[in-house]
Symmetry: C2
Subunit: 430 residues, 2 copies
């Protein structure tokens, strides 16, 4: 951990730098796999599974029998936790439903938006050391509430060709329609273009390593929408002297254990807290099973002291953290002034873990400073708002002449004429 | 125009094919310009303006004097039309304001979303044959309502170094902060990375040719968000035997005059209408100043007869048109069943021109079938919804054990520990 005290503003850009992922060079490799899946379908996906996931699959499809078996394999305590989390995620996302209202912009001109679910969505759940069943809930629950008709999930199987039962259980609880054994670039390509087994979808969601991210970006250039660009996870704790260093240390470590490129940053007005957190991180680190990962990631992490809360907020908004934990006495006032962050955790009893799993908010969030322009995943991510308008005779008379004038000045006479023929008919009729 | 009658479903994919834009090969050229602007700033932009827009500029900045002069150059009738359009766009987009509500997902666990404006946005307005002041309104008005602090606009100047006065007037009416003379790839790169003159923004909006589109896509891979991928404009008219062929023809032509790659499609249940529209298009075409463009674009356009409204709707939703005009007797019932479209115009008095200019809806819409996954530009495009959560002691007791269980099963012990330390403290206190 780097201790940084009262940095000059000229140093901010350097201090806030994130570990850089160079995706540029990946694109050629990734494009090659995408093209093969697009051309050859299942055959290419099965070959890539053998190559990258070291598994010989007879079929990509997760069967009914496998789903039933998964239910018997997950222990009751975990099932109850998944159901509780699902319920809270559902409650929060259902409250995000869009209520359409008609707006009469001028007499006789009525306009409105209607929320319509994206018909087909694809969710990617990475494999690796941990089964990310929580991400299944975070993506499938809002998709279901939105009313997506086809919710497809791809996830890499283990070397015996099995998907972790907790993932299959969460997928069933959340309402996923079809599950396929496919990982990495080949999974993204399958959902982007469709194969004999995997249906083509209109939007792809979910985290992944740099290959998956590059694949999502490439297919999004033309063929399918994606949730957002993804980078390594990150947390900032914004704290004053009232914060509990044990909690702060635990929060920083819960980010550090994610991966060696994760970022954990403390911004505080208290040098005493900075010192106490440093000591506490070192103490707690010793007890962690994933100590090795956390240790490497902590090498990039910073404990920054600034002169006052004003400056702390300015630095925070410049950083635009994915997760922001505010442990200050007046956290509600501080929250009012946060303009760039993905998800904000307020007070000493709101750790990032709560939002990662079970409070109800989504954990798919903008990293890498993207919070300046992007929201996290929400119900909005699974719908489109289509605009409608109905113009009646009075309305056409009200806006018609202005349209004619503007169209003529943009040299678009056919645009003008589409109004003129209508105004003429109204004149004849009246 | 191609007349297509009762096509078999196996032909649908072929019929619905759009003119293909091959952007792949553009990317190298475009990347070169972006890199130069990124490295050299204003100097590179000025050089590109000389090269591509054939103009020697002393400065990129549009001055106060130029803005004042523009006001005197636009005639009063056009000013009044622009003000009327601005008012309606404002009314419709202001009604889209997001109202935050707190949700208690479990006792003691409160979550909410807050809409926060994107602080800095960049708007691109293309040059070319027509001054697109209407697009200035469509992008700047919602940006202003959202509360974006910095609204930057780039547009190419003419060969005398001037920006069209109607663009400058609309920009002032809509509340643009700063205007720069820059076009094409160099404009997009300027706003993505900032130059000495042009500030860096977080999200870039606006239409453009294939170079501009490729530039937006390239910078969006890492550095800045964009509104949506853009392709040539398109309209579908969905009509039954009650539709007025004069109106339908005028609507198809108002799309065709946009550019040679524009698409205009009629889907109807009436062969009589198909024939009448064909004749009427040919008649109206003769009267158009942009006849040559419209003629070329009409070569791609299709007048399709299907067996019933059921099939018409299925084909429409498969096509996912940017603009959909519904001229049927029961247009409200038809509208209920539209799931894939950008903006829908209902009844015989709602031409696309209305939404293009003055009814209040936005005209920046998803083309190329993207309506299956994307919405058009709306107030949402200029905000982010940040999630917040506040957990109180009762809430931590309610969800804490579920979080511990899930974190342990994802092998994320530090995540678990962030909850455990808090539950321990609550136990000590109670």
């Amino acid at each position: 951990m780097k201790l940084i005290n009262n940095p000059d503003k000229s140093q901010w850009a350097e201090i806030l730098k994130r570990p850089v992922m160079n995706t540029e060079n990946l694109f050629d490799t990734v494009r090659g796999i995408i093209d093969r899946v697009r051309a050859e379908g299942d055959r290419a996906v099965l070959e890539m599974e053998a190559k990258f996931d070291k598994v010989e699959l007879a079929s990509l499809v997760v069967t009914e029998a496998e789903l039933k078996e998964a239910e018997t394999l997950v222990d009751e305590k975990l099932k109850a936790a998944i159901r509780l989390a699902k319920q809270n995620i559902e409650t929060f996302h259902a409250a995000q439903r869009f209520e359409s209202k008609k707006v009469e912009t001028m007499p006789g001109v009525t306009c409105w938006q209607k929320a319509v679910a994206i018909e087909k969505v694809g969710l990617y759940i990475p494999g690796g050391t941990a089964p990310l069943f929580s991400t299944v809930l975070m993506l499938a629950v809002p998709a279901k509430i939105a009313g997506c008709k086809e919710i497809v999930l791809c996830t890499p199987p283990d070397r015996e060709g099995r998907v972790h039962p907790a993932i299959l259980f969460a997928a069933q609880v959340a309402g996923v329609n079809r599950i396929f054994k496919a990982g990495g670039v080949q999974a993204i390509a399958s959902m982007a273009y469709g194969t004999e087994s995997v249906p083509k979808v209109y939007k792809i969601f979910g985290p992944g390593n740099q290959y998956v991210t590059a694949a999502k970006q490439l297919v999004s250039l033309r063929d399918v929408a994606i949730d957002m660009p993804a980078g390594p996870s990150e947390v900032e704790v914004l704290a004053d002297e009232t914060a509990d260093p044990v909690f702060v240390a635990a929060d920083l470590l819960s980010q550090a254990e994610h991966g060696v490129d994760s970022q954990a940053v403390l911004i505080t007005t208290s040098e005493a807290l900075q010192q106490a957190v440093k000591a506490e991180v070192e103490r707690q680190l010793e007890l962690l099973p994933r100590k090795e990962i956390a240790e490497k990631s902590l090498a990039n992490s910073k404990l920054i002291v600034v002169k006052d809360m004003e400056e702390a907020l300015e630095l925070t908004n410049e950083y635009a953290p994915e997760h922001l934990i505010v442990e200050t006495a007046d956290y509600m006032q501080v929250a009012e002034r946060v303009v760039n962050a993905g998800s904000v955790f307020l007070g000493s009893l709101s750790p990032e873990s709560a939002g990662d799993y079970a409070s109800g908010t989504n954990h798919t969030l903008p990293t890498n400073g993207y919070a300046k322009a992007y929201s996290g995943v929400s119900l909005d991510s699974f719908i489109r708002k289509i605009t409608f308008q109905e113009i009646r005779p009075e309305g056409m008379k009200n806006i018609g002449p202005a349209i004619e004038e503007m169209a003529a000045n943009e040299h678009l006479d056919a645009h003008k004429n589409a109004v003129t023929v209508r105004l003429n008919k109204l004149r004849v009729e009246s």
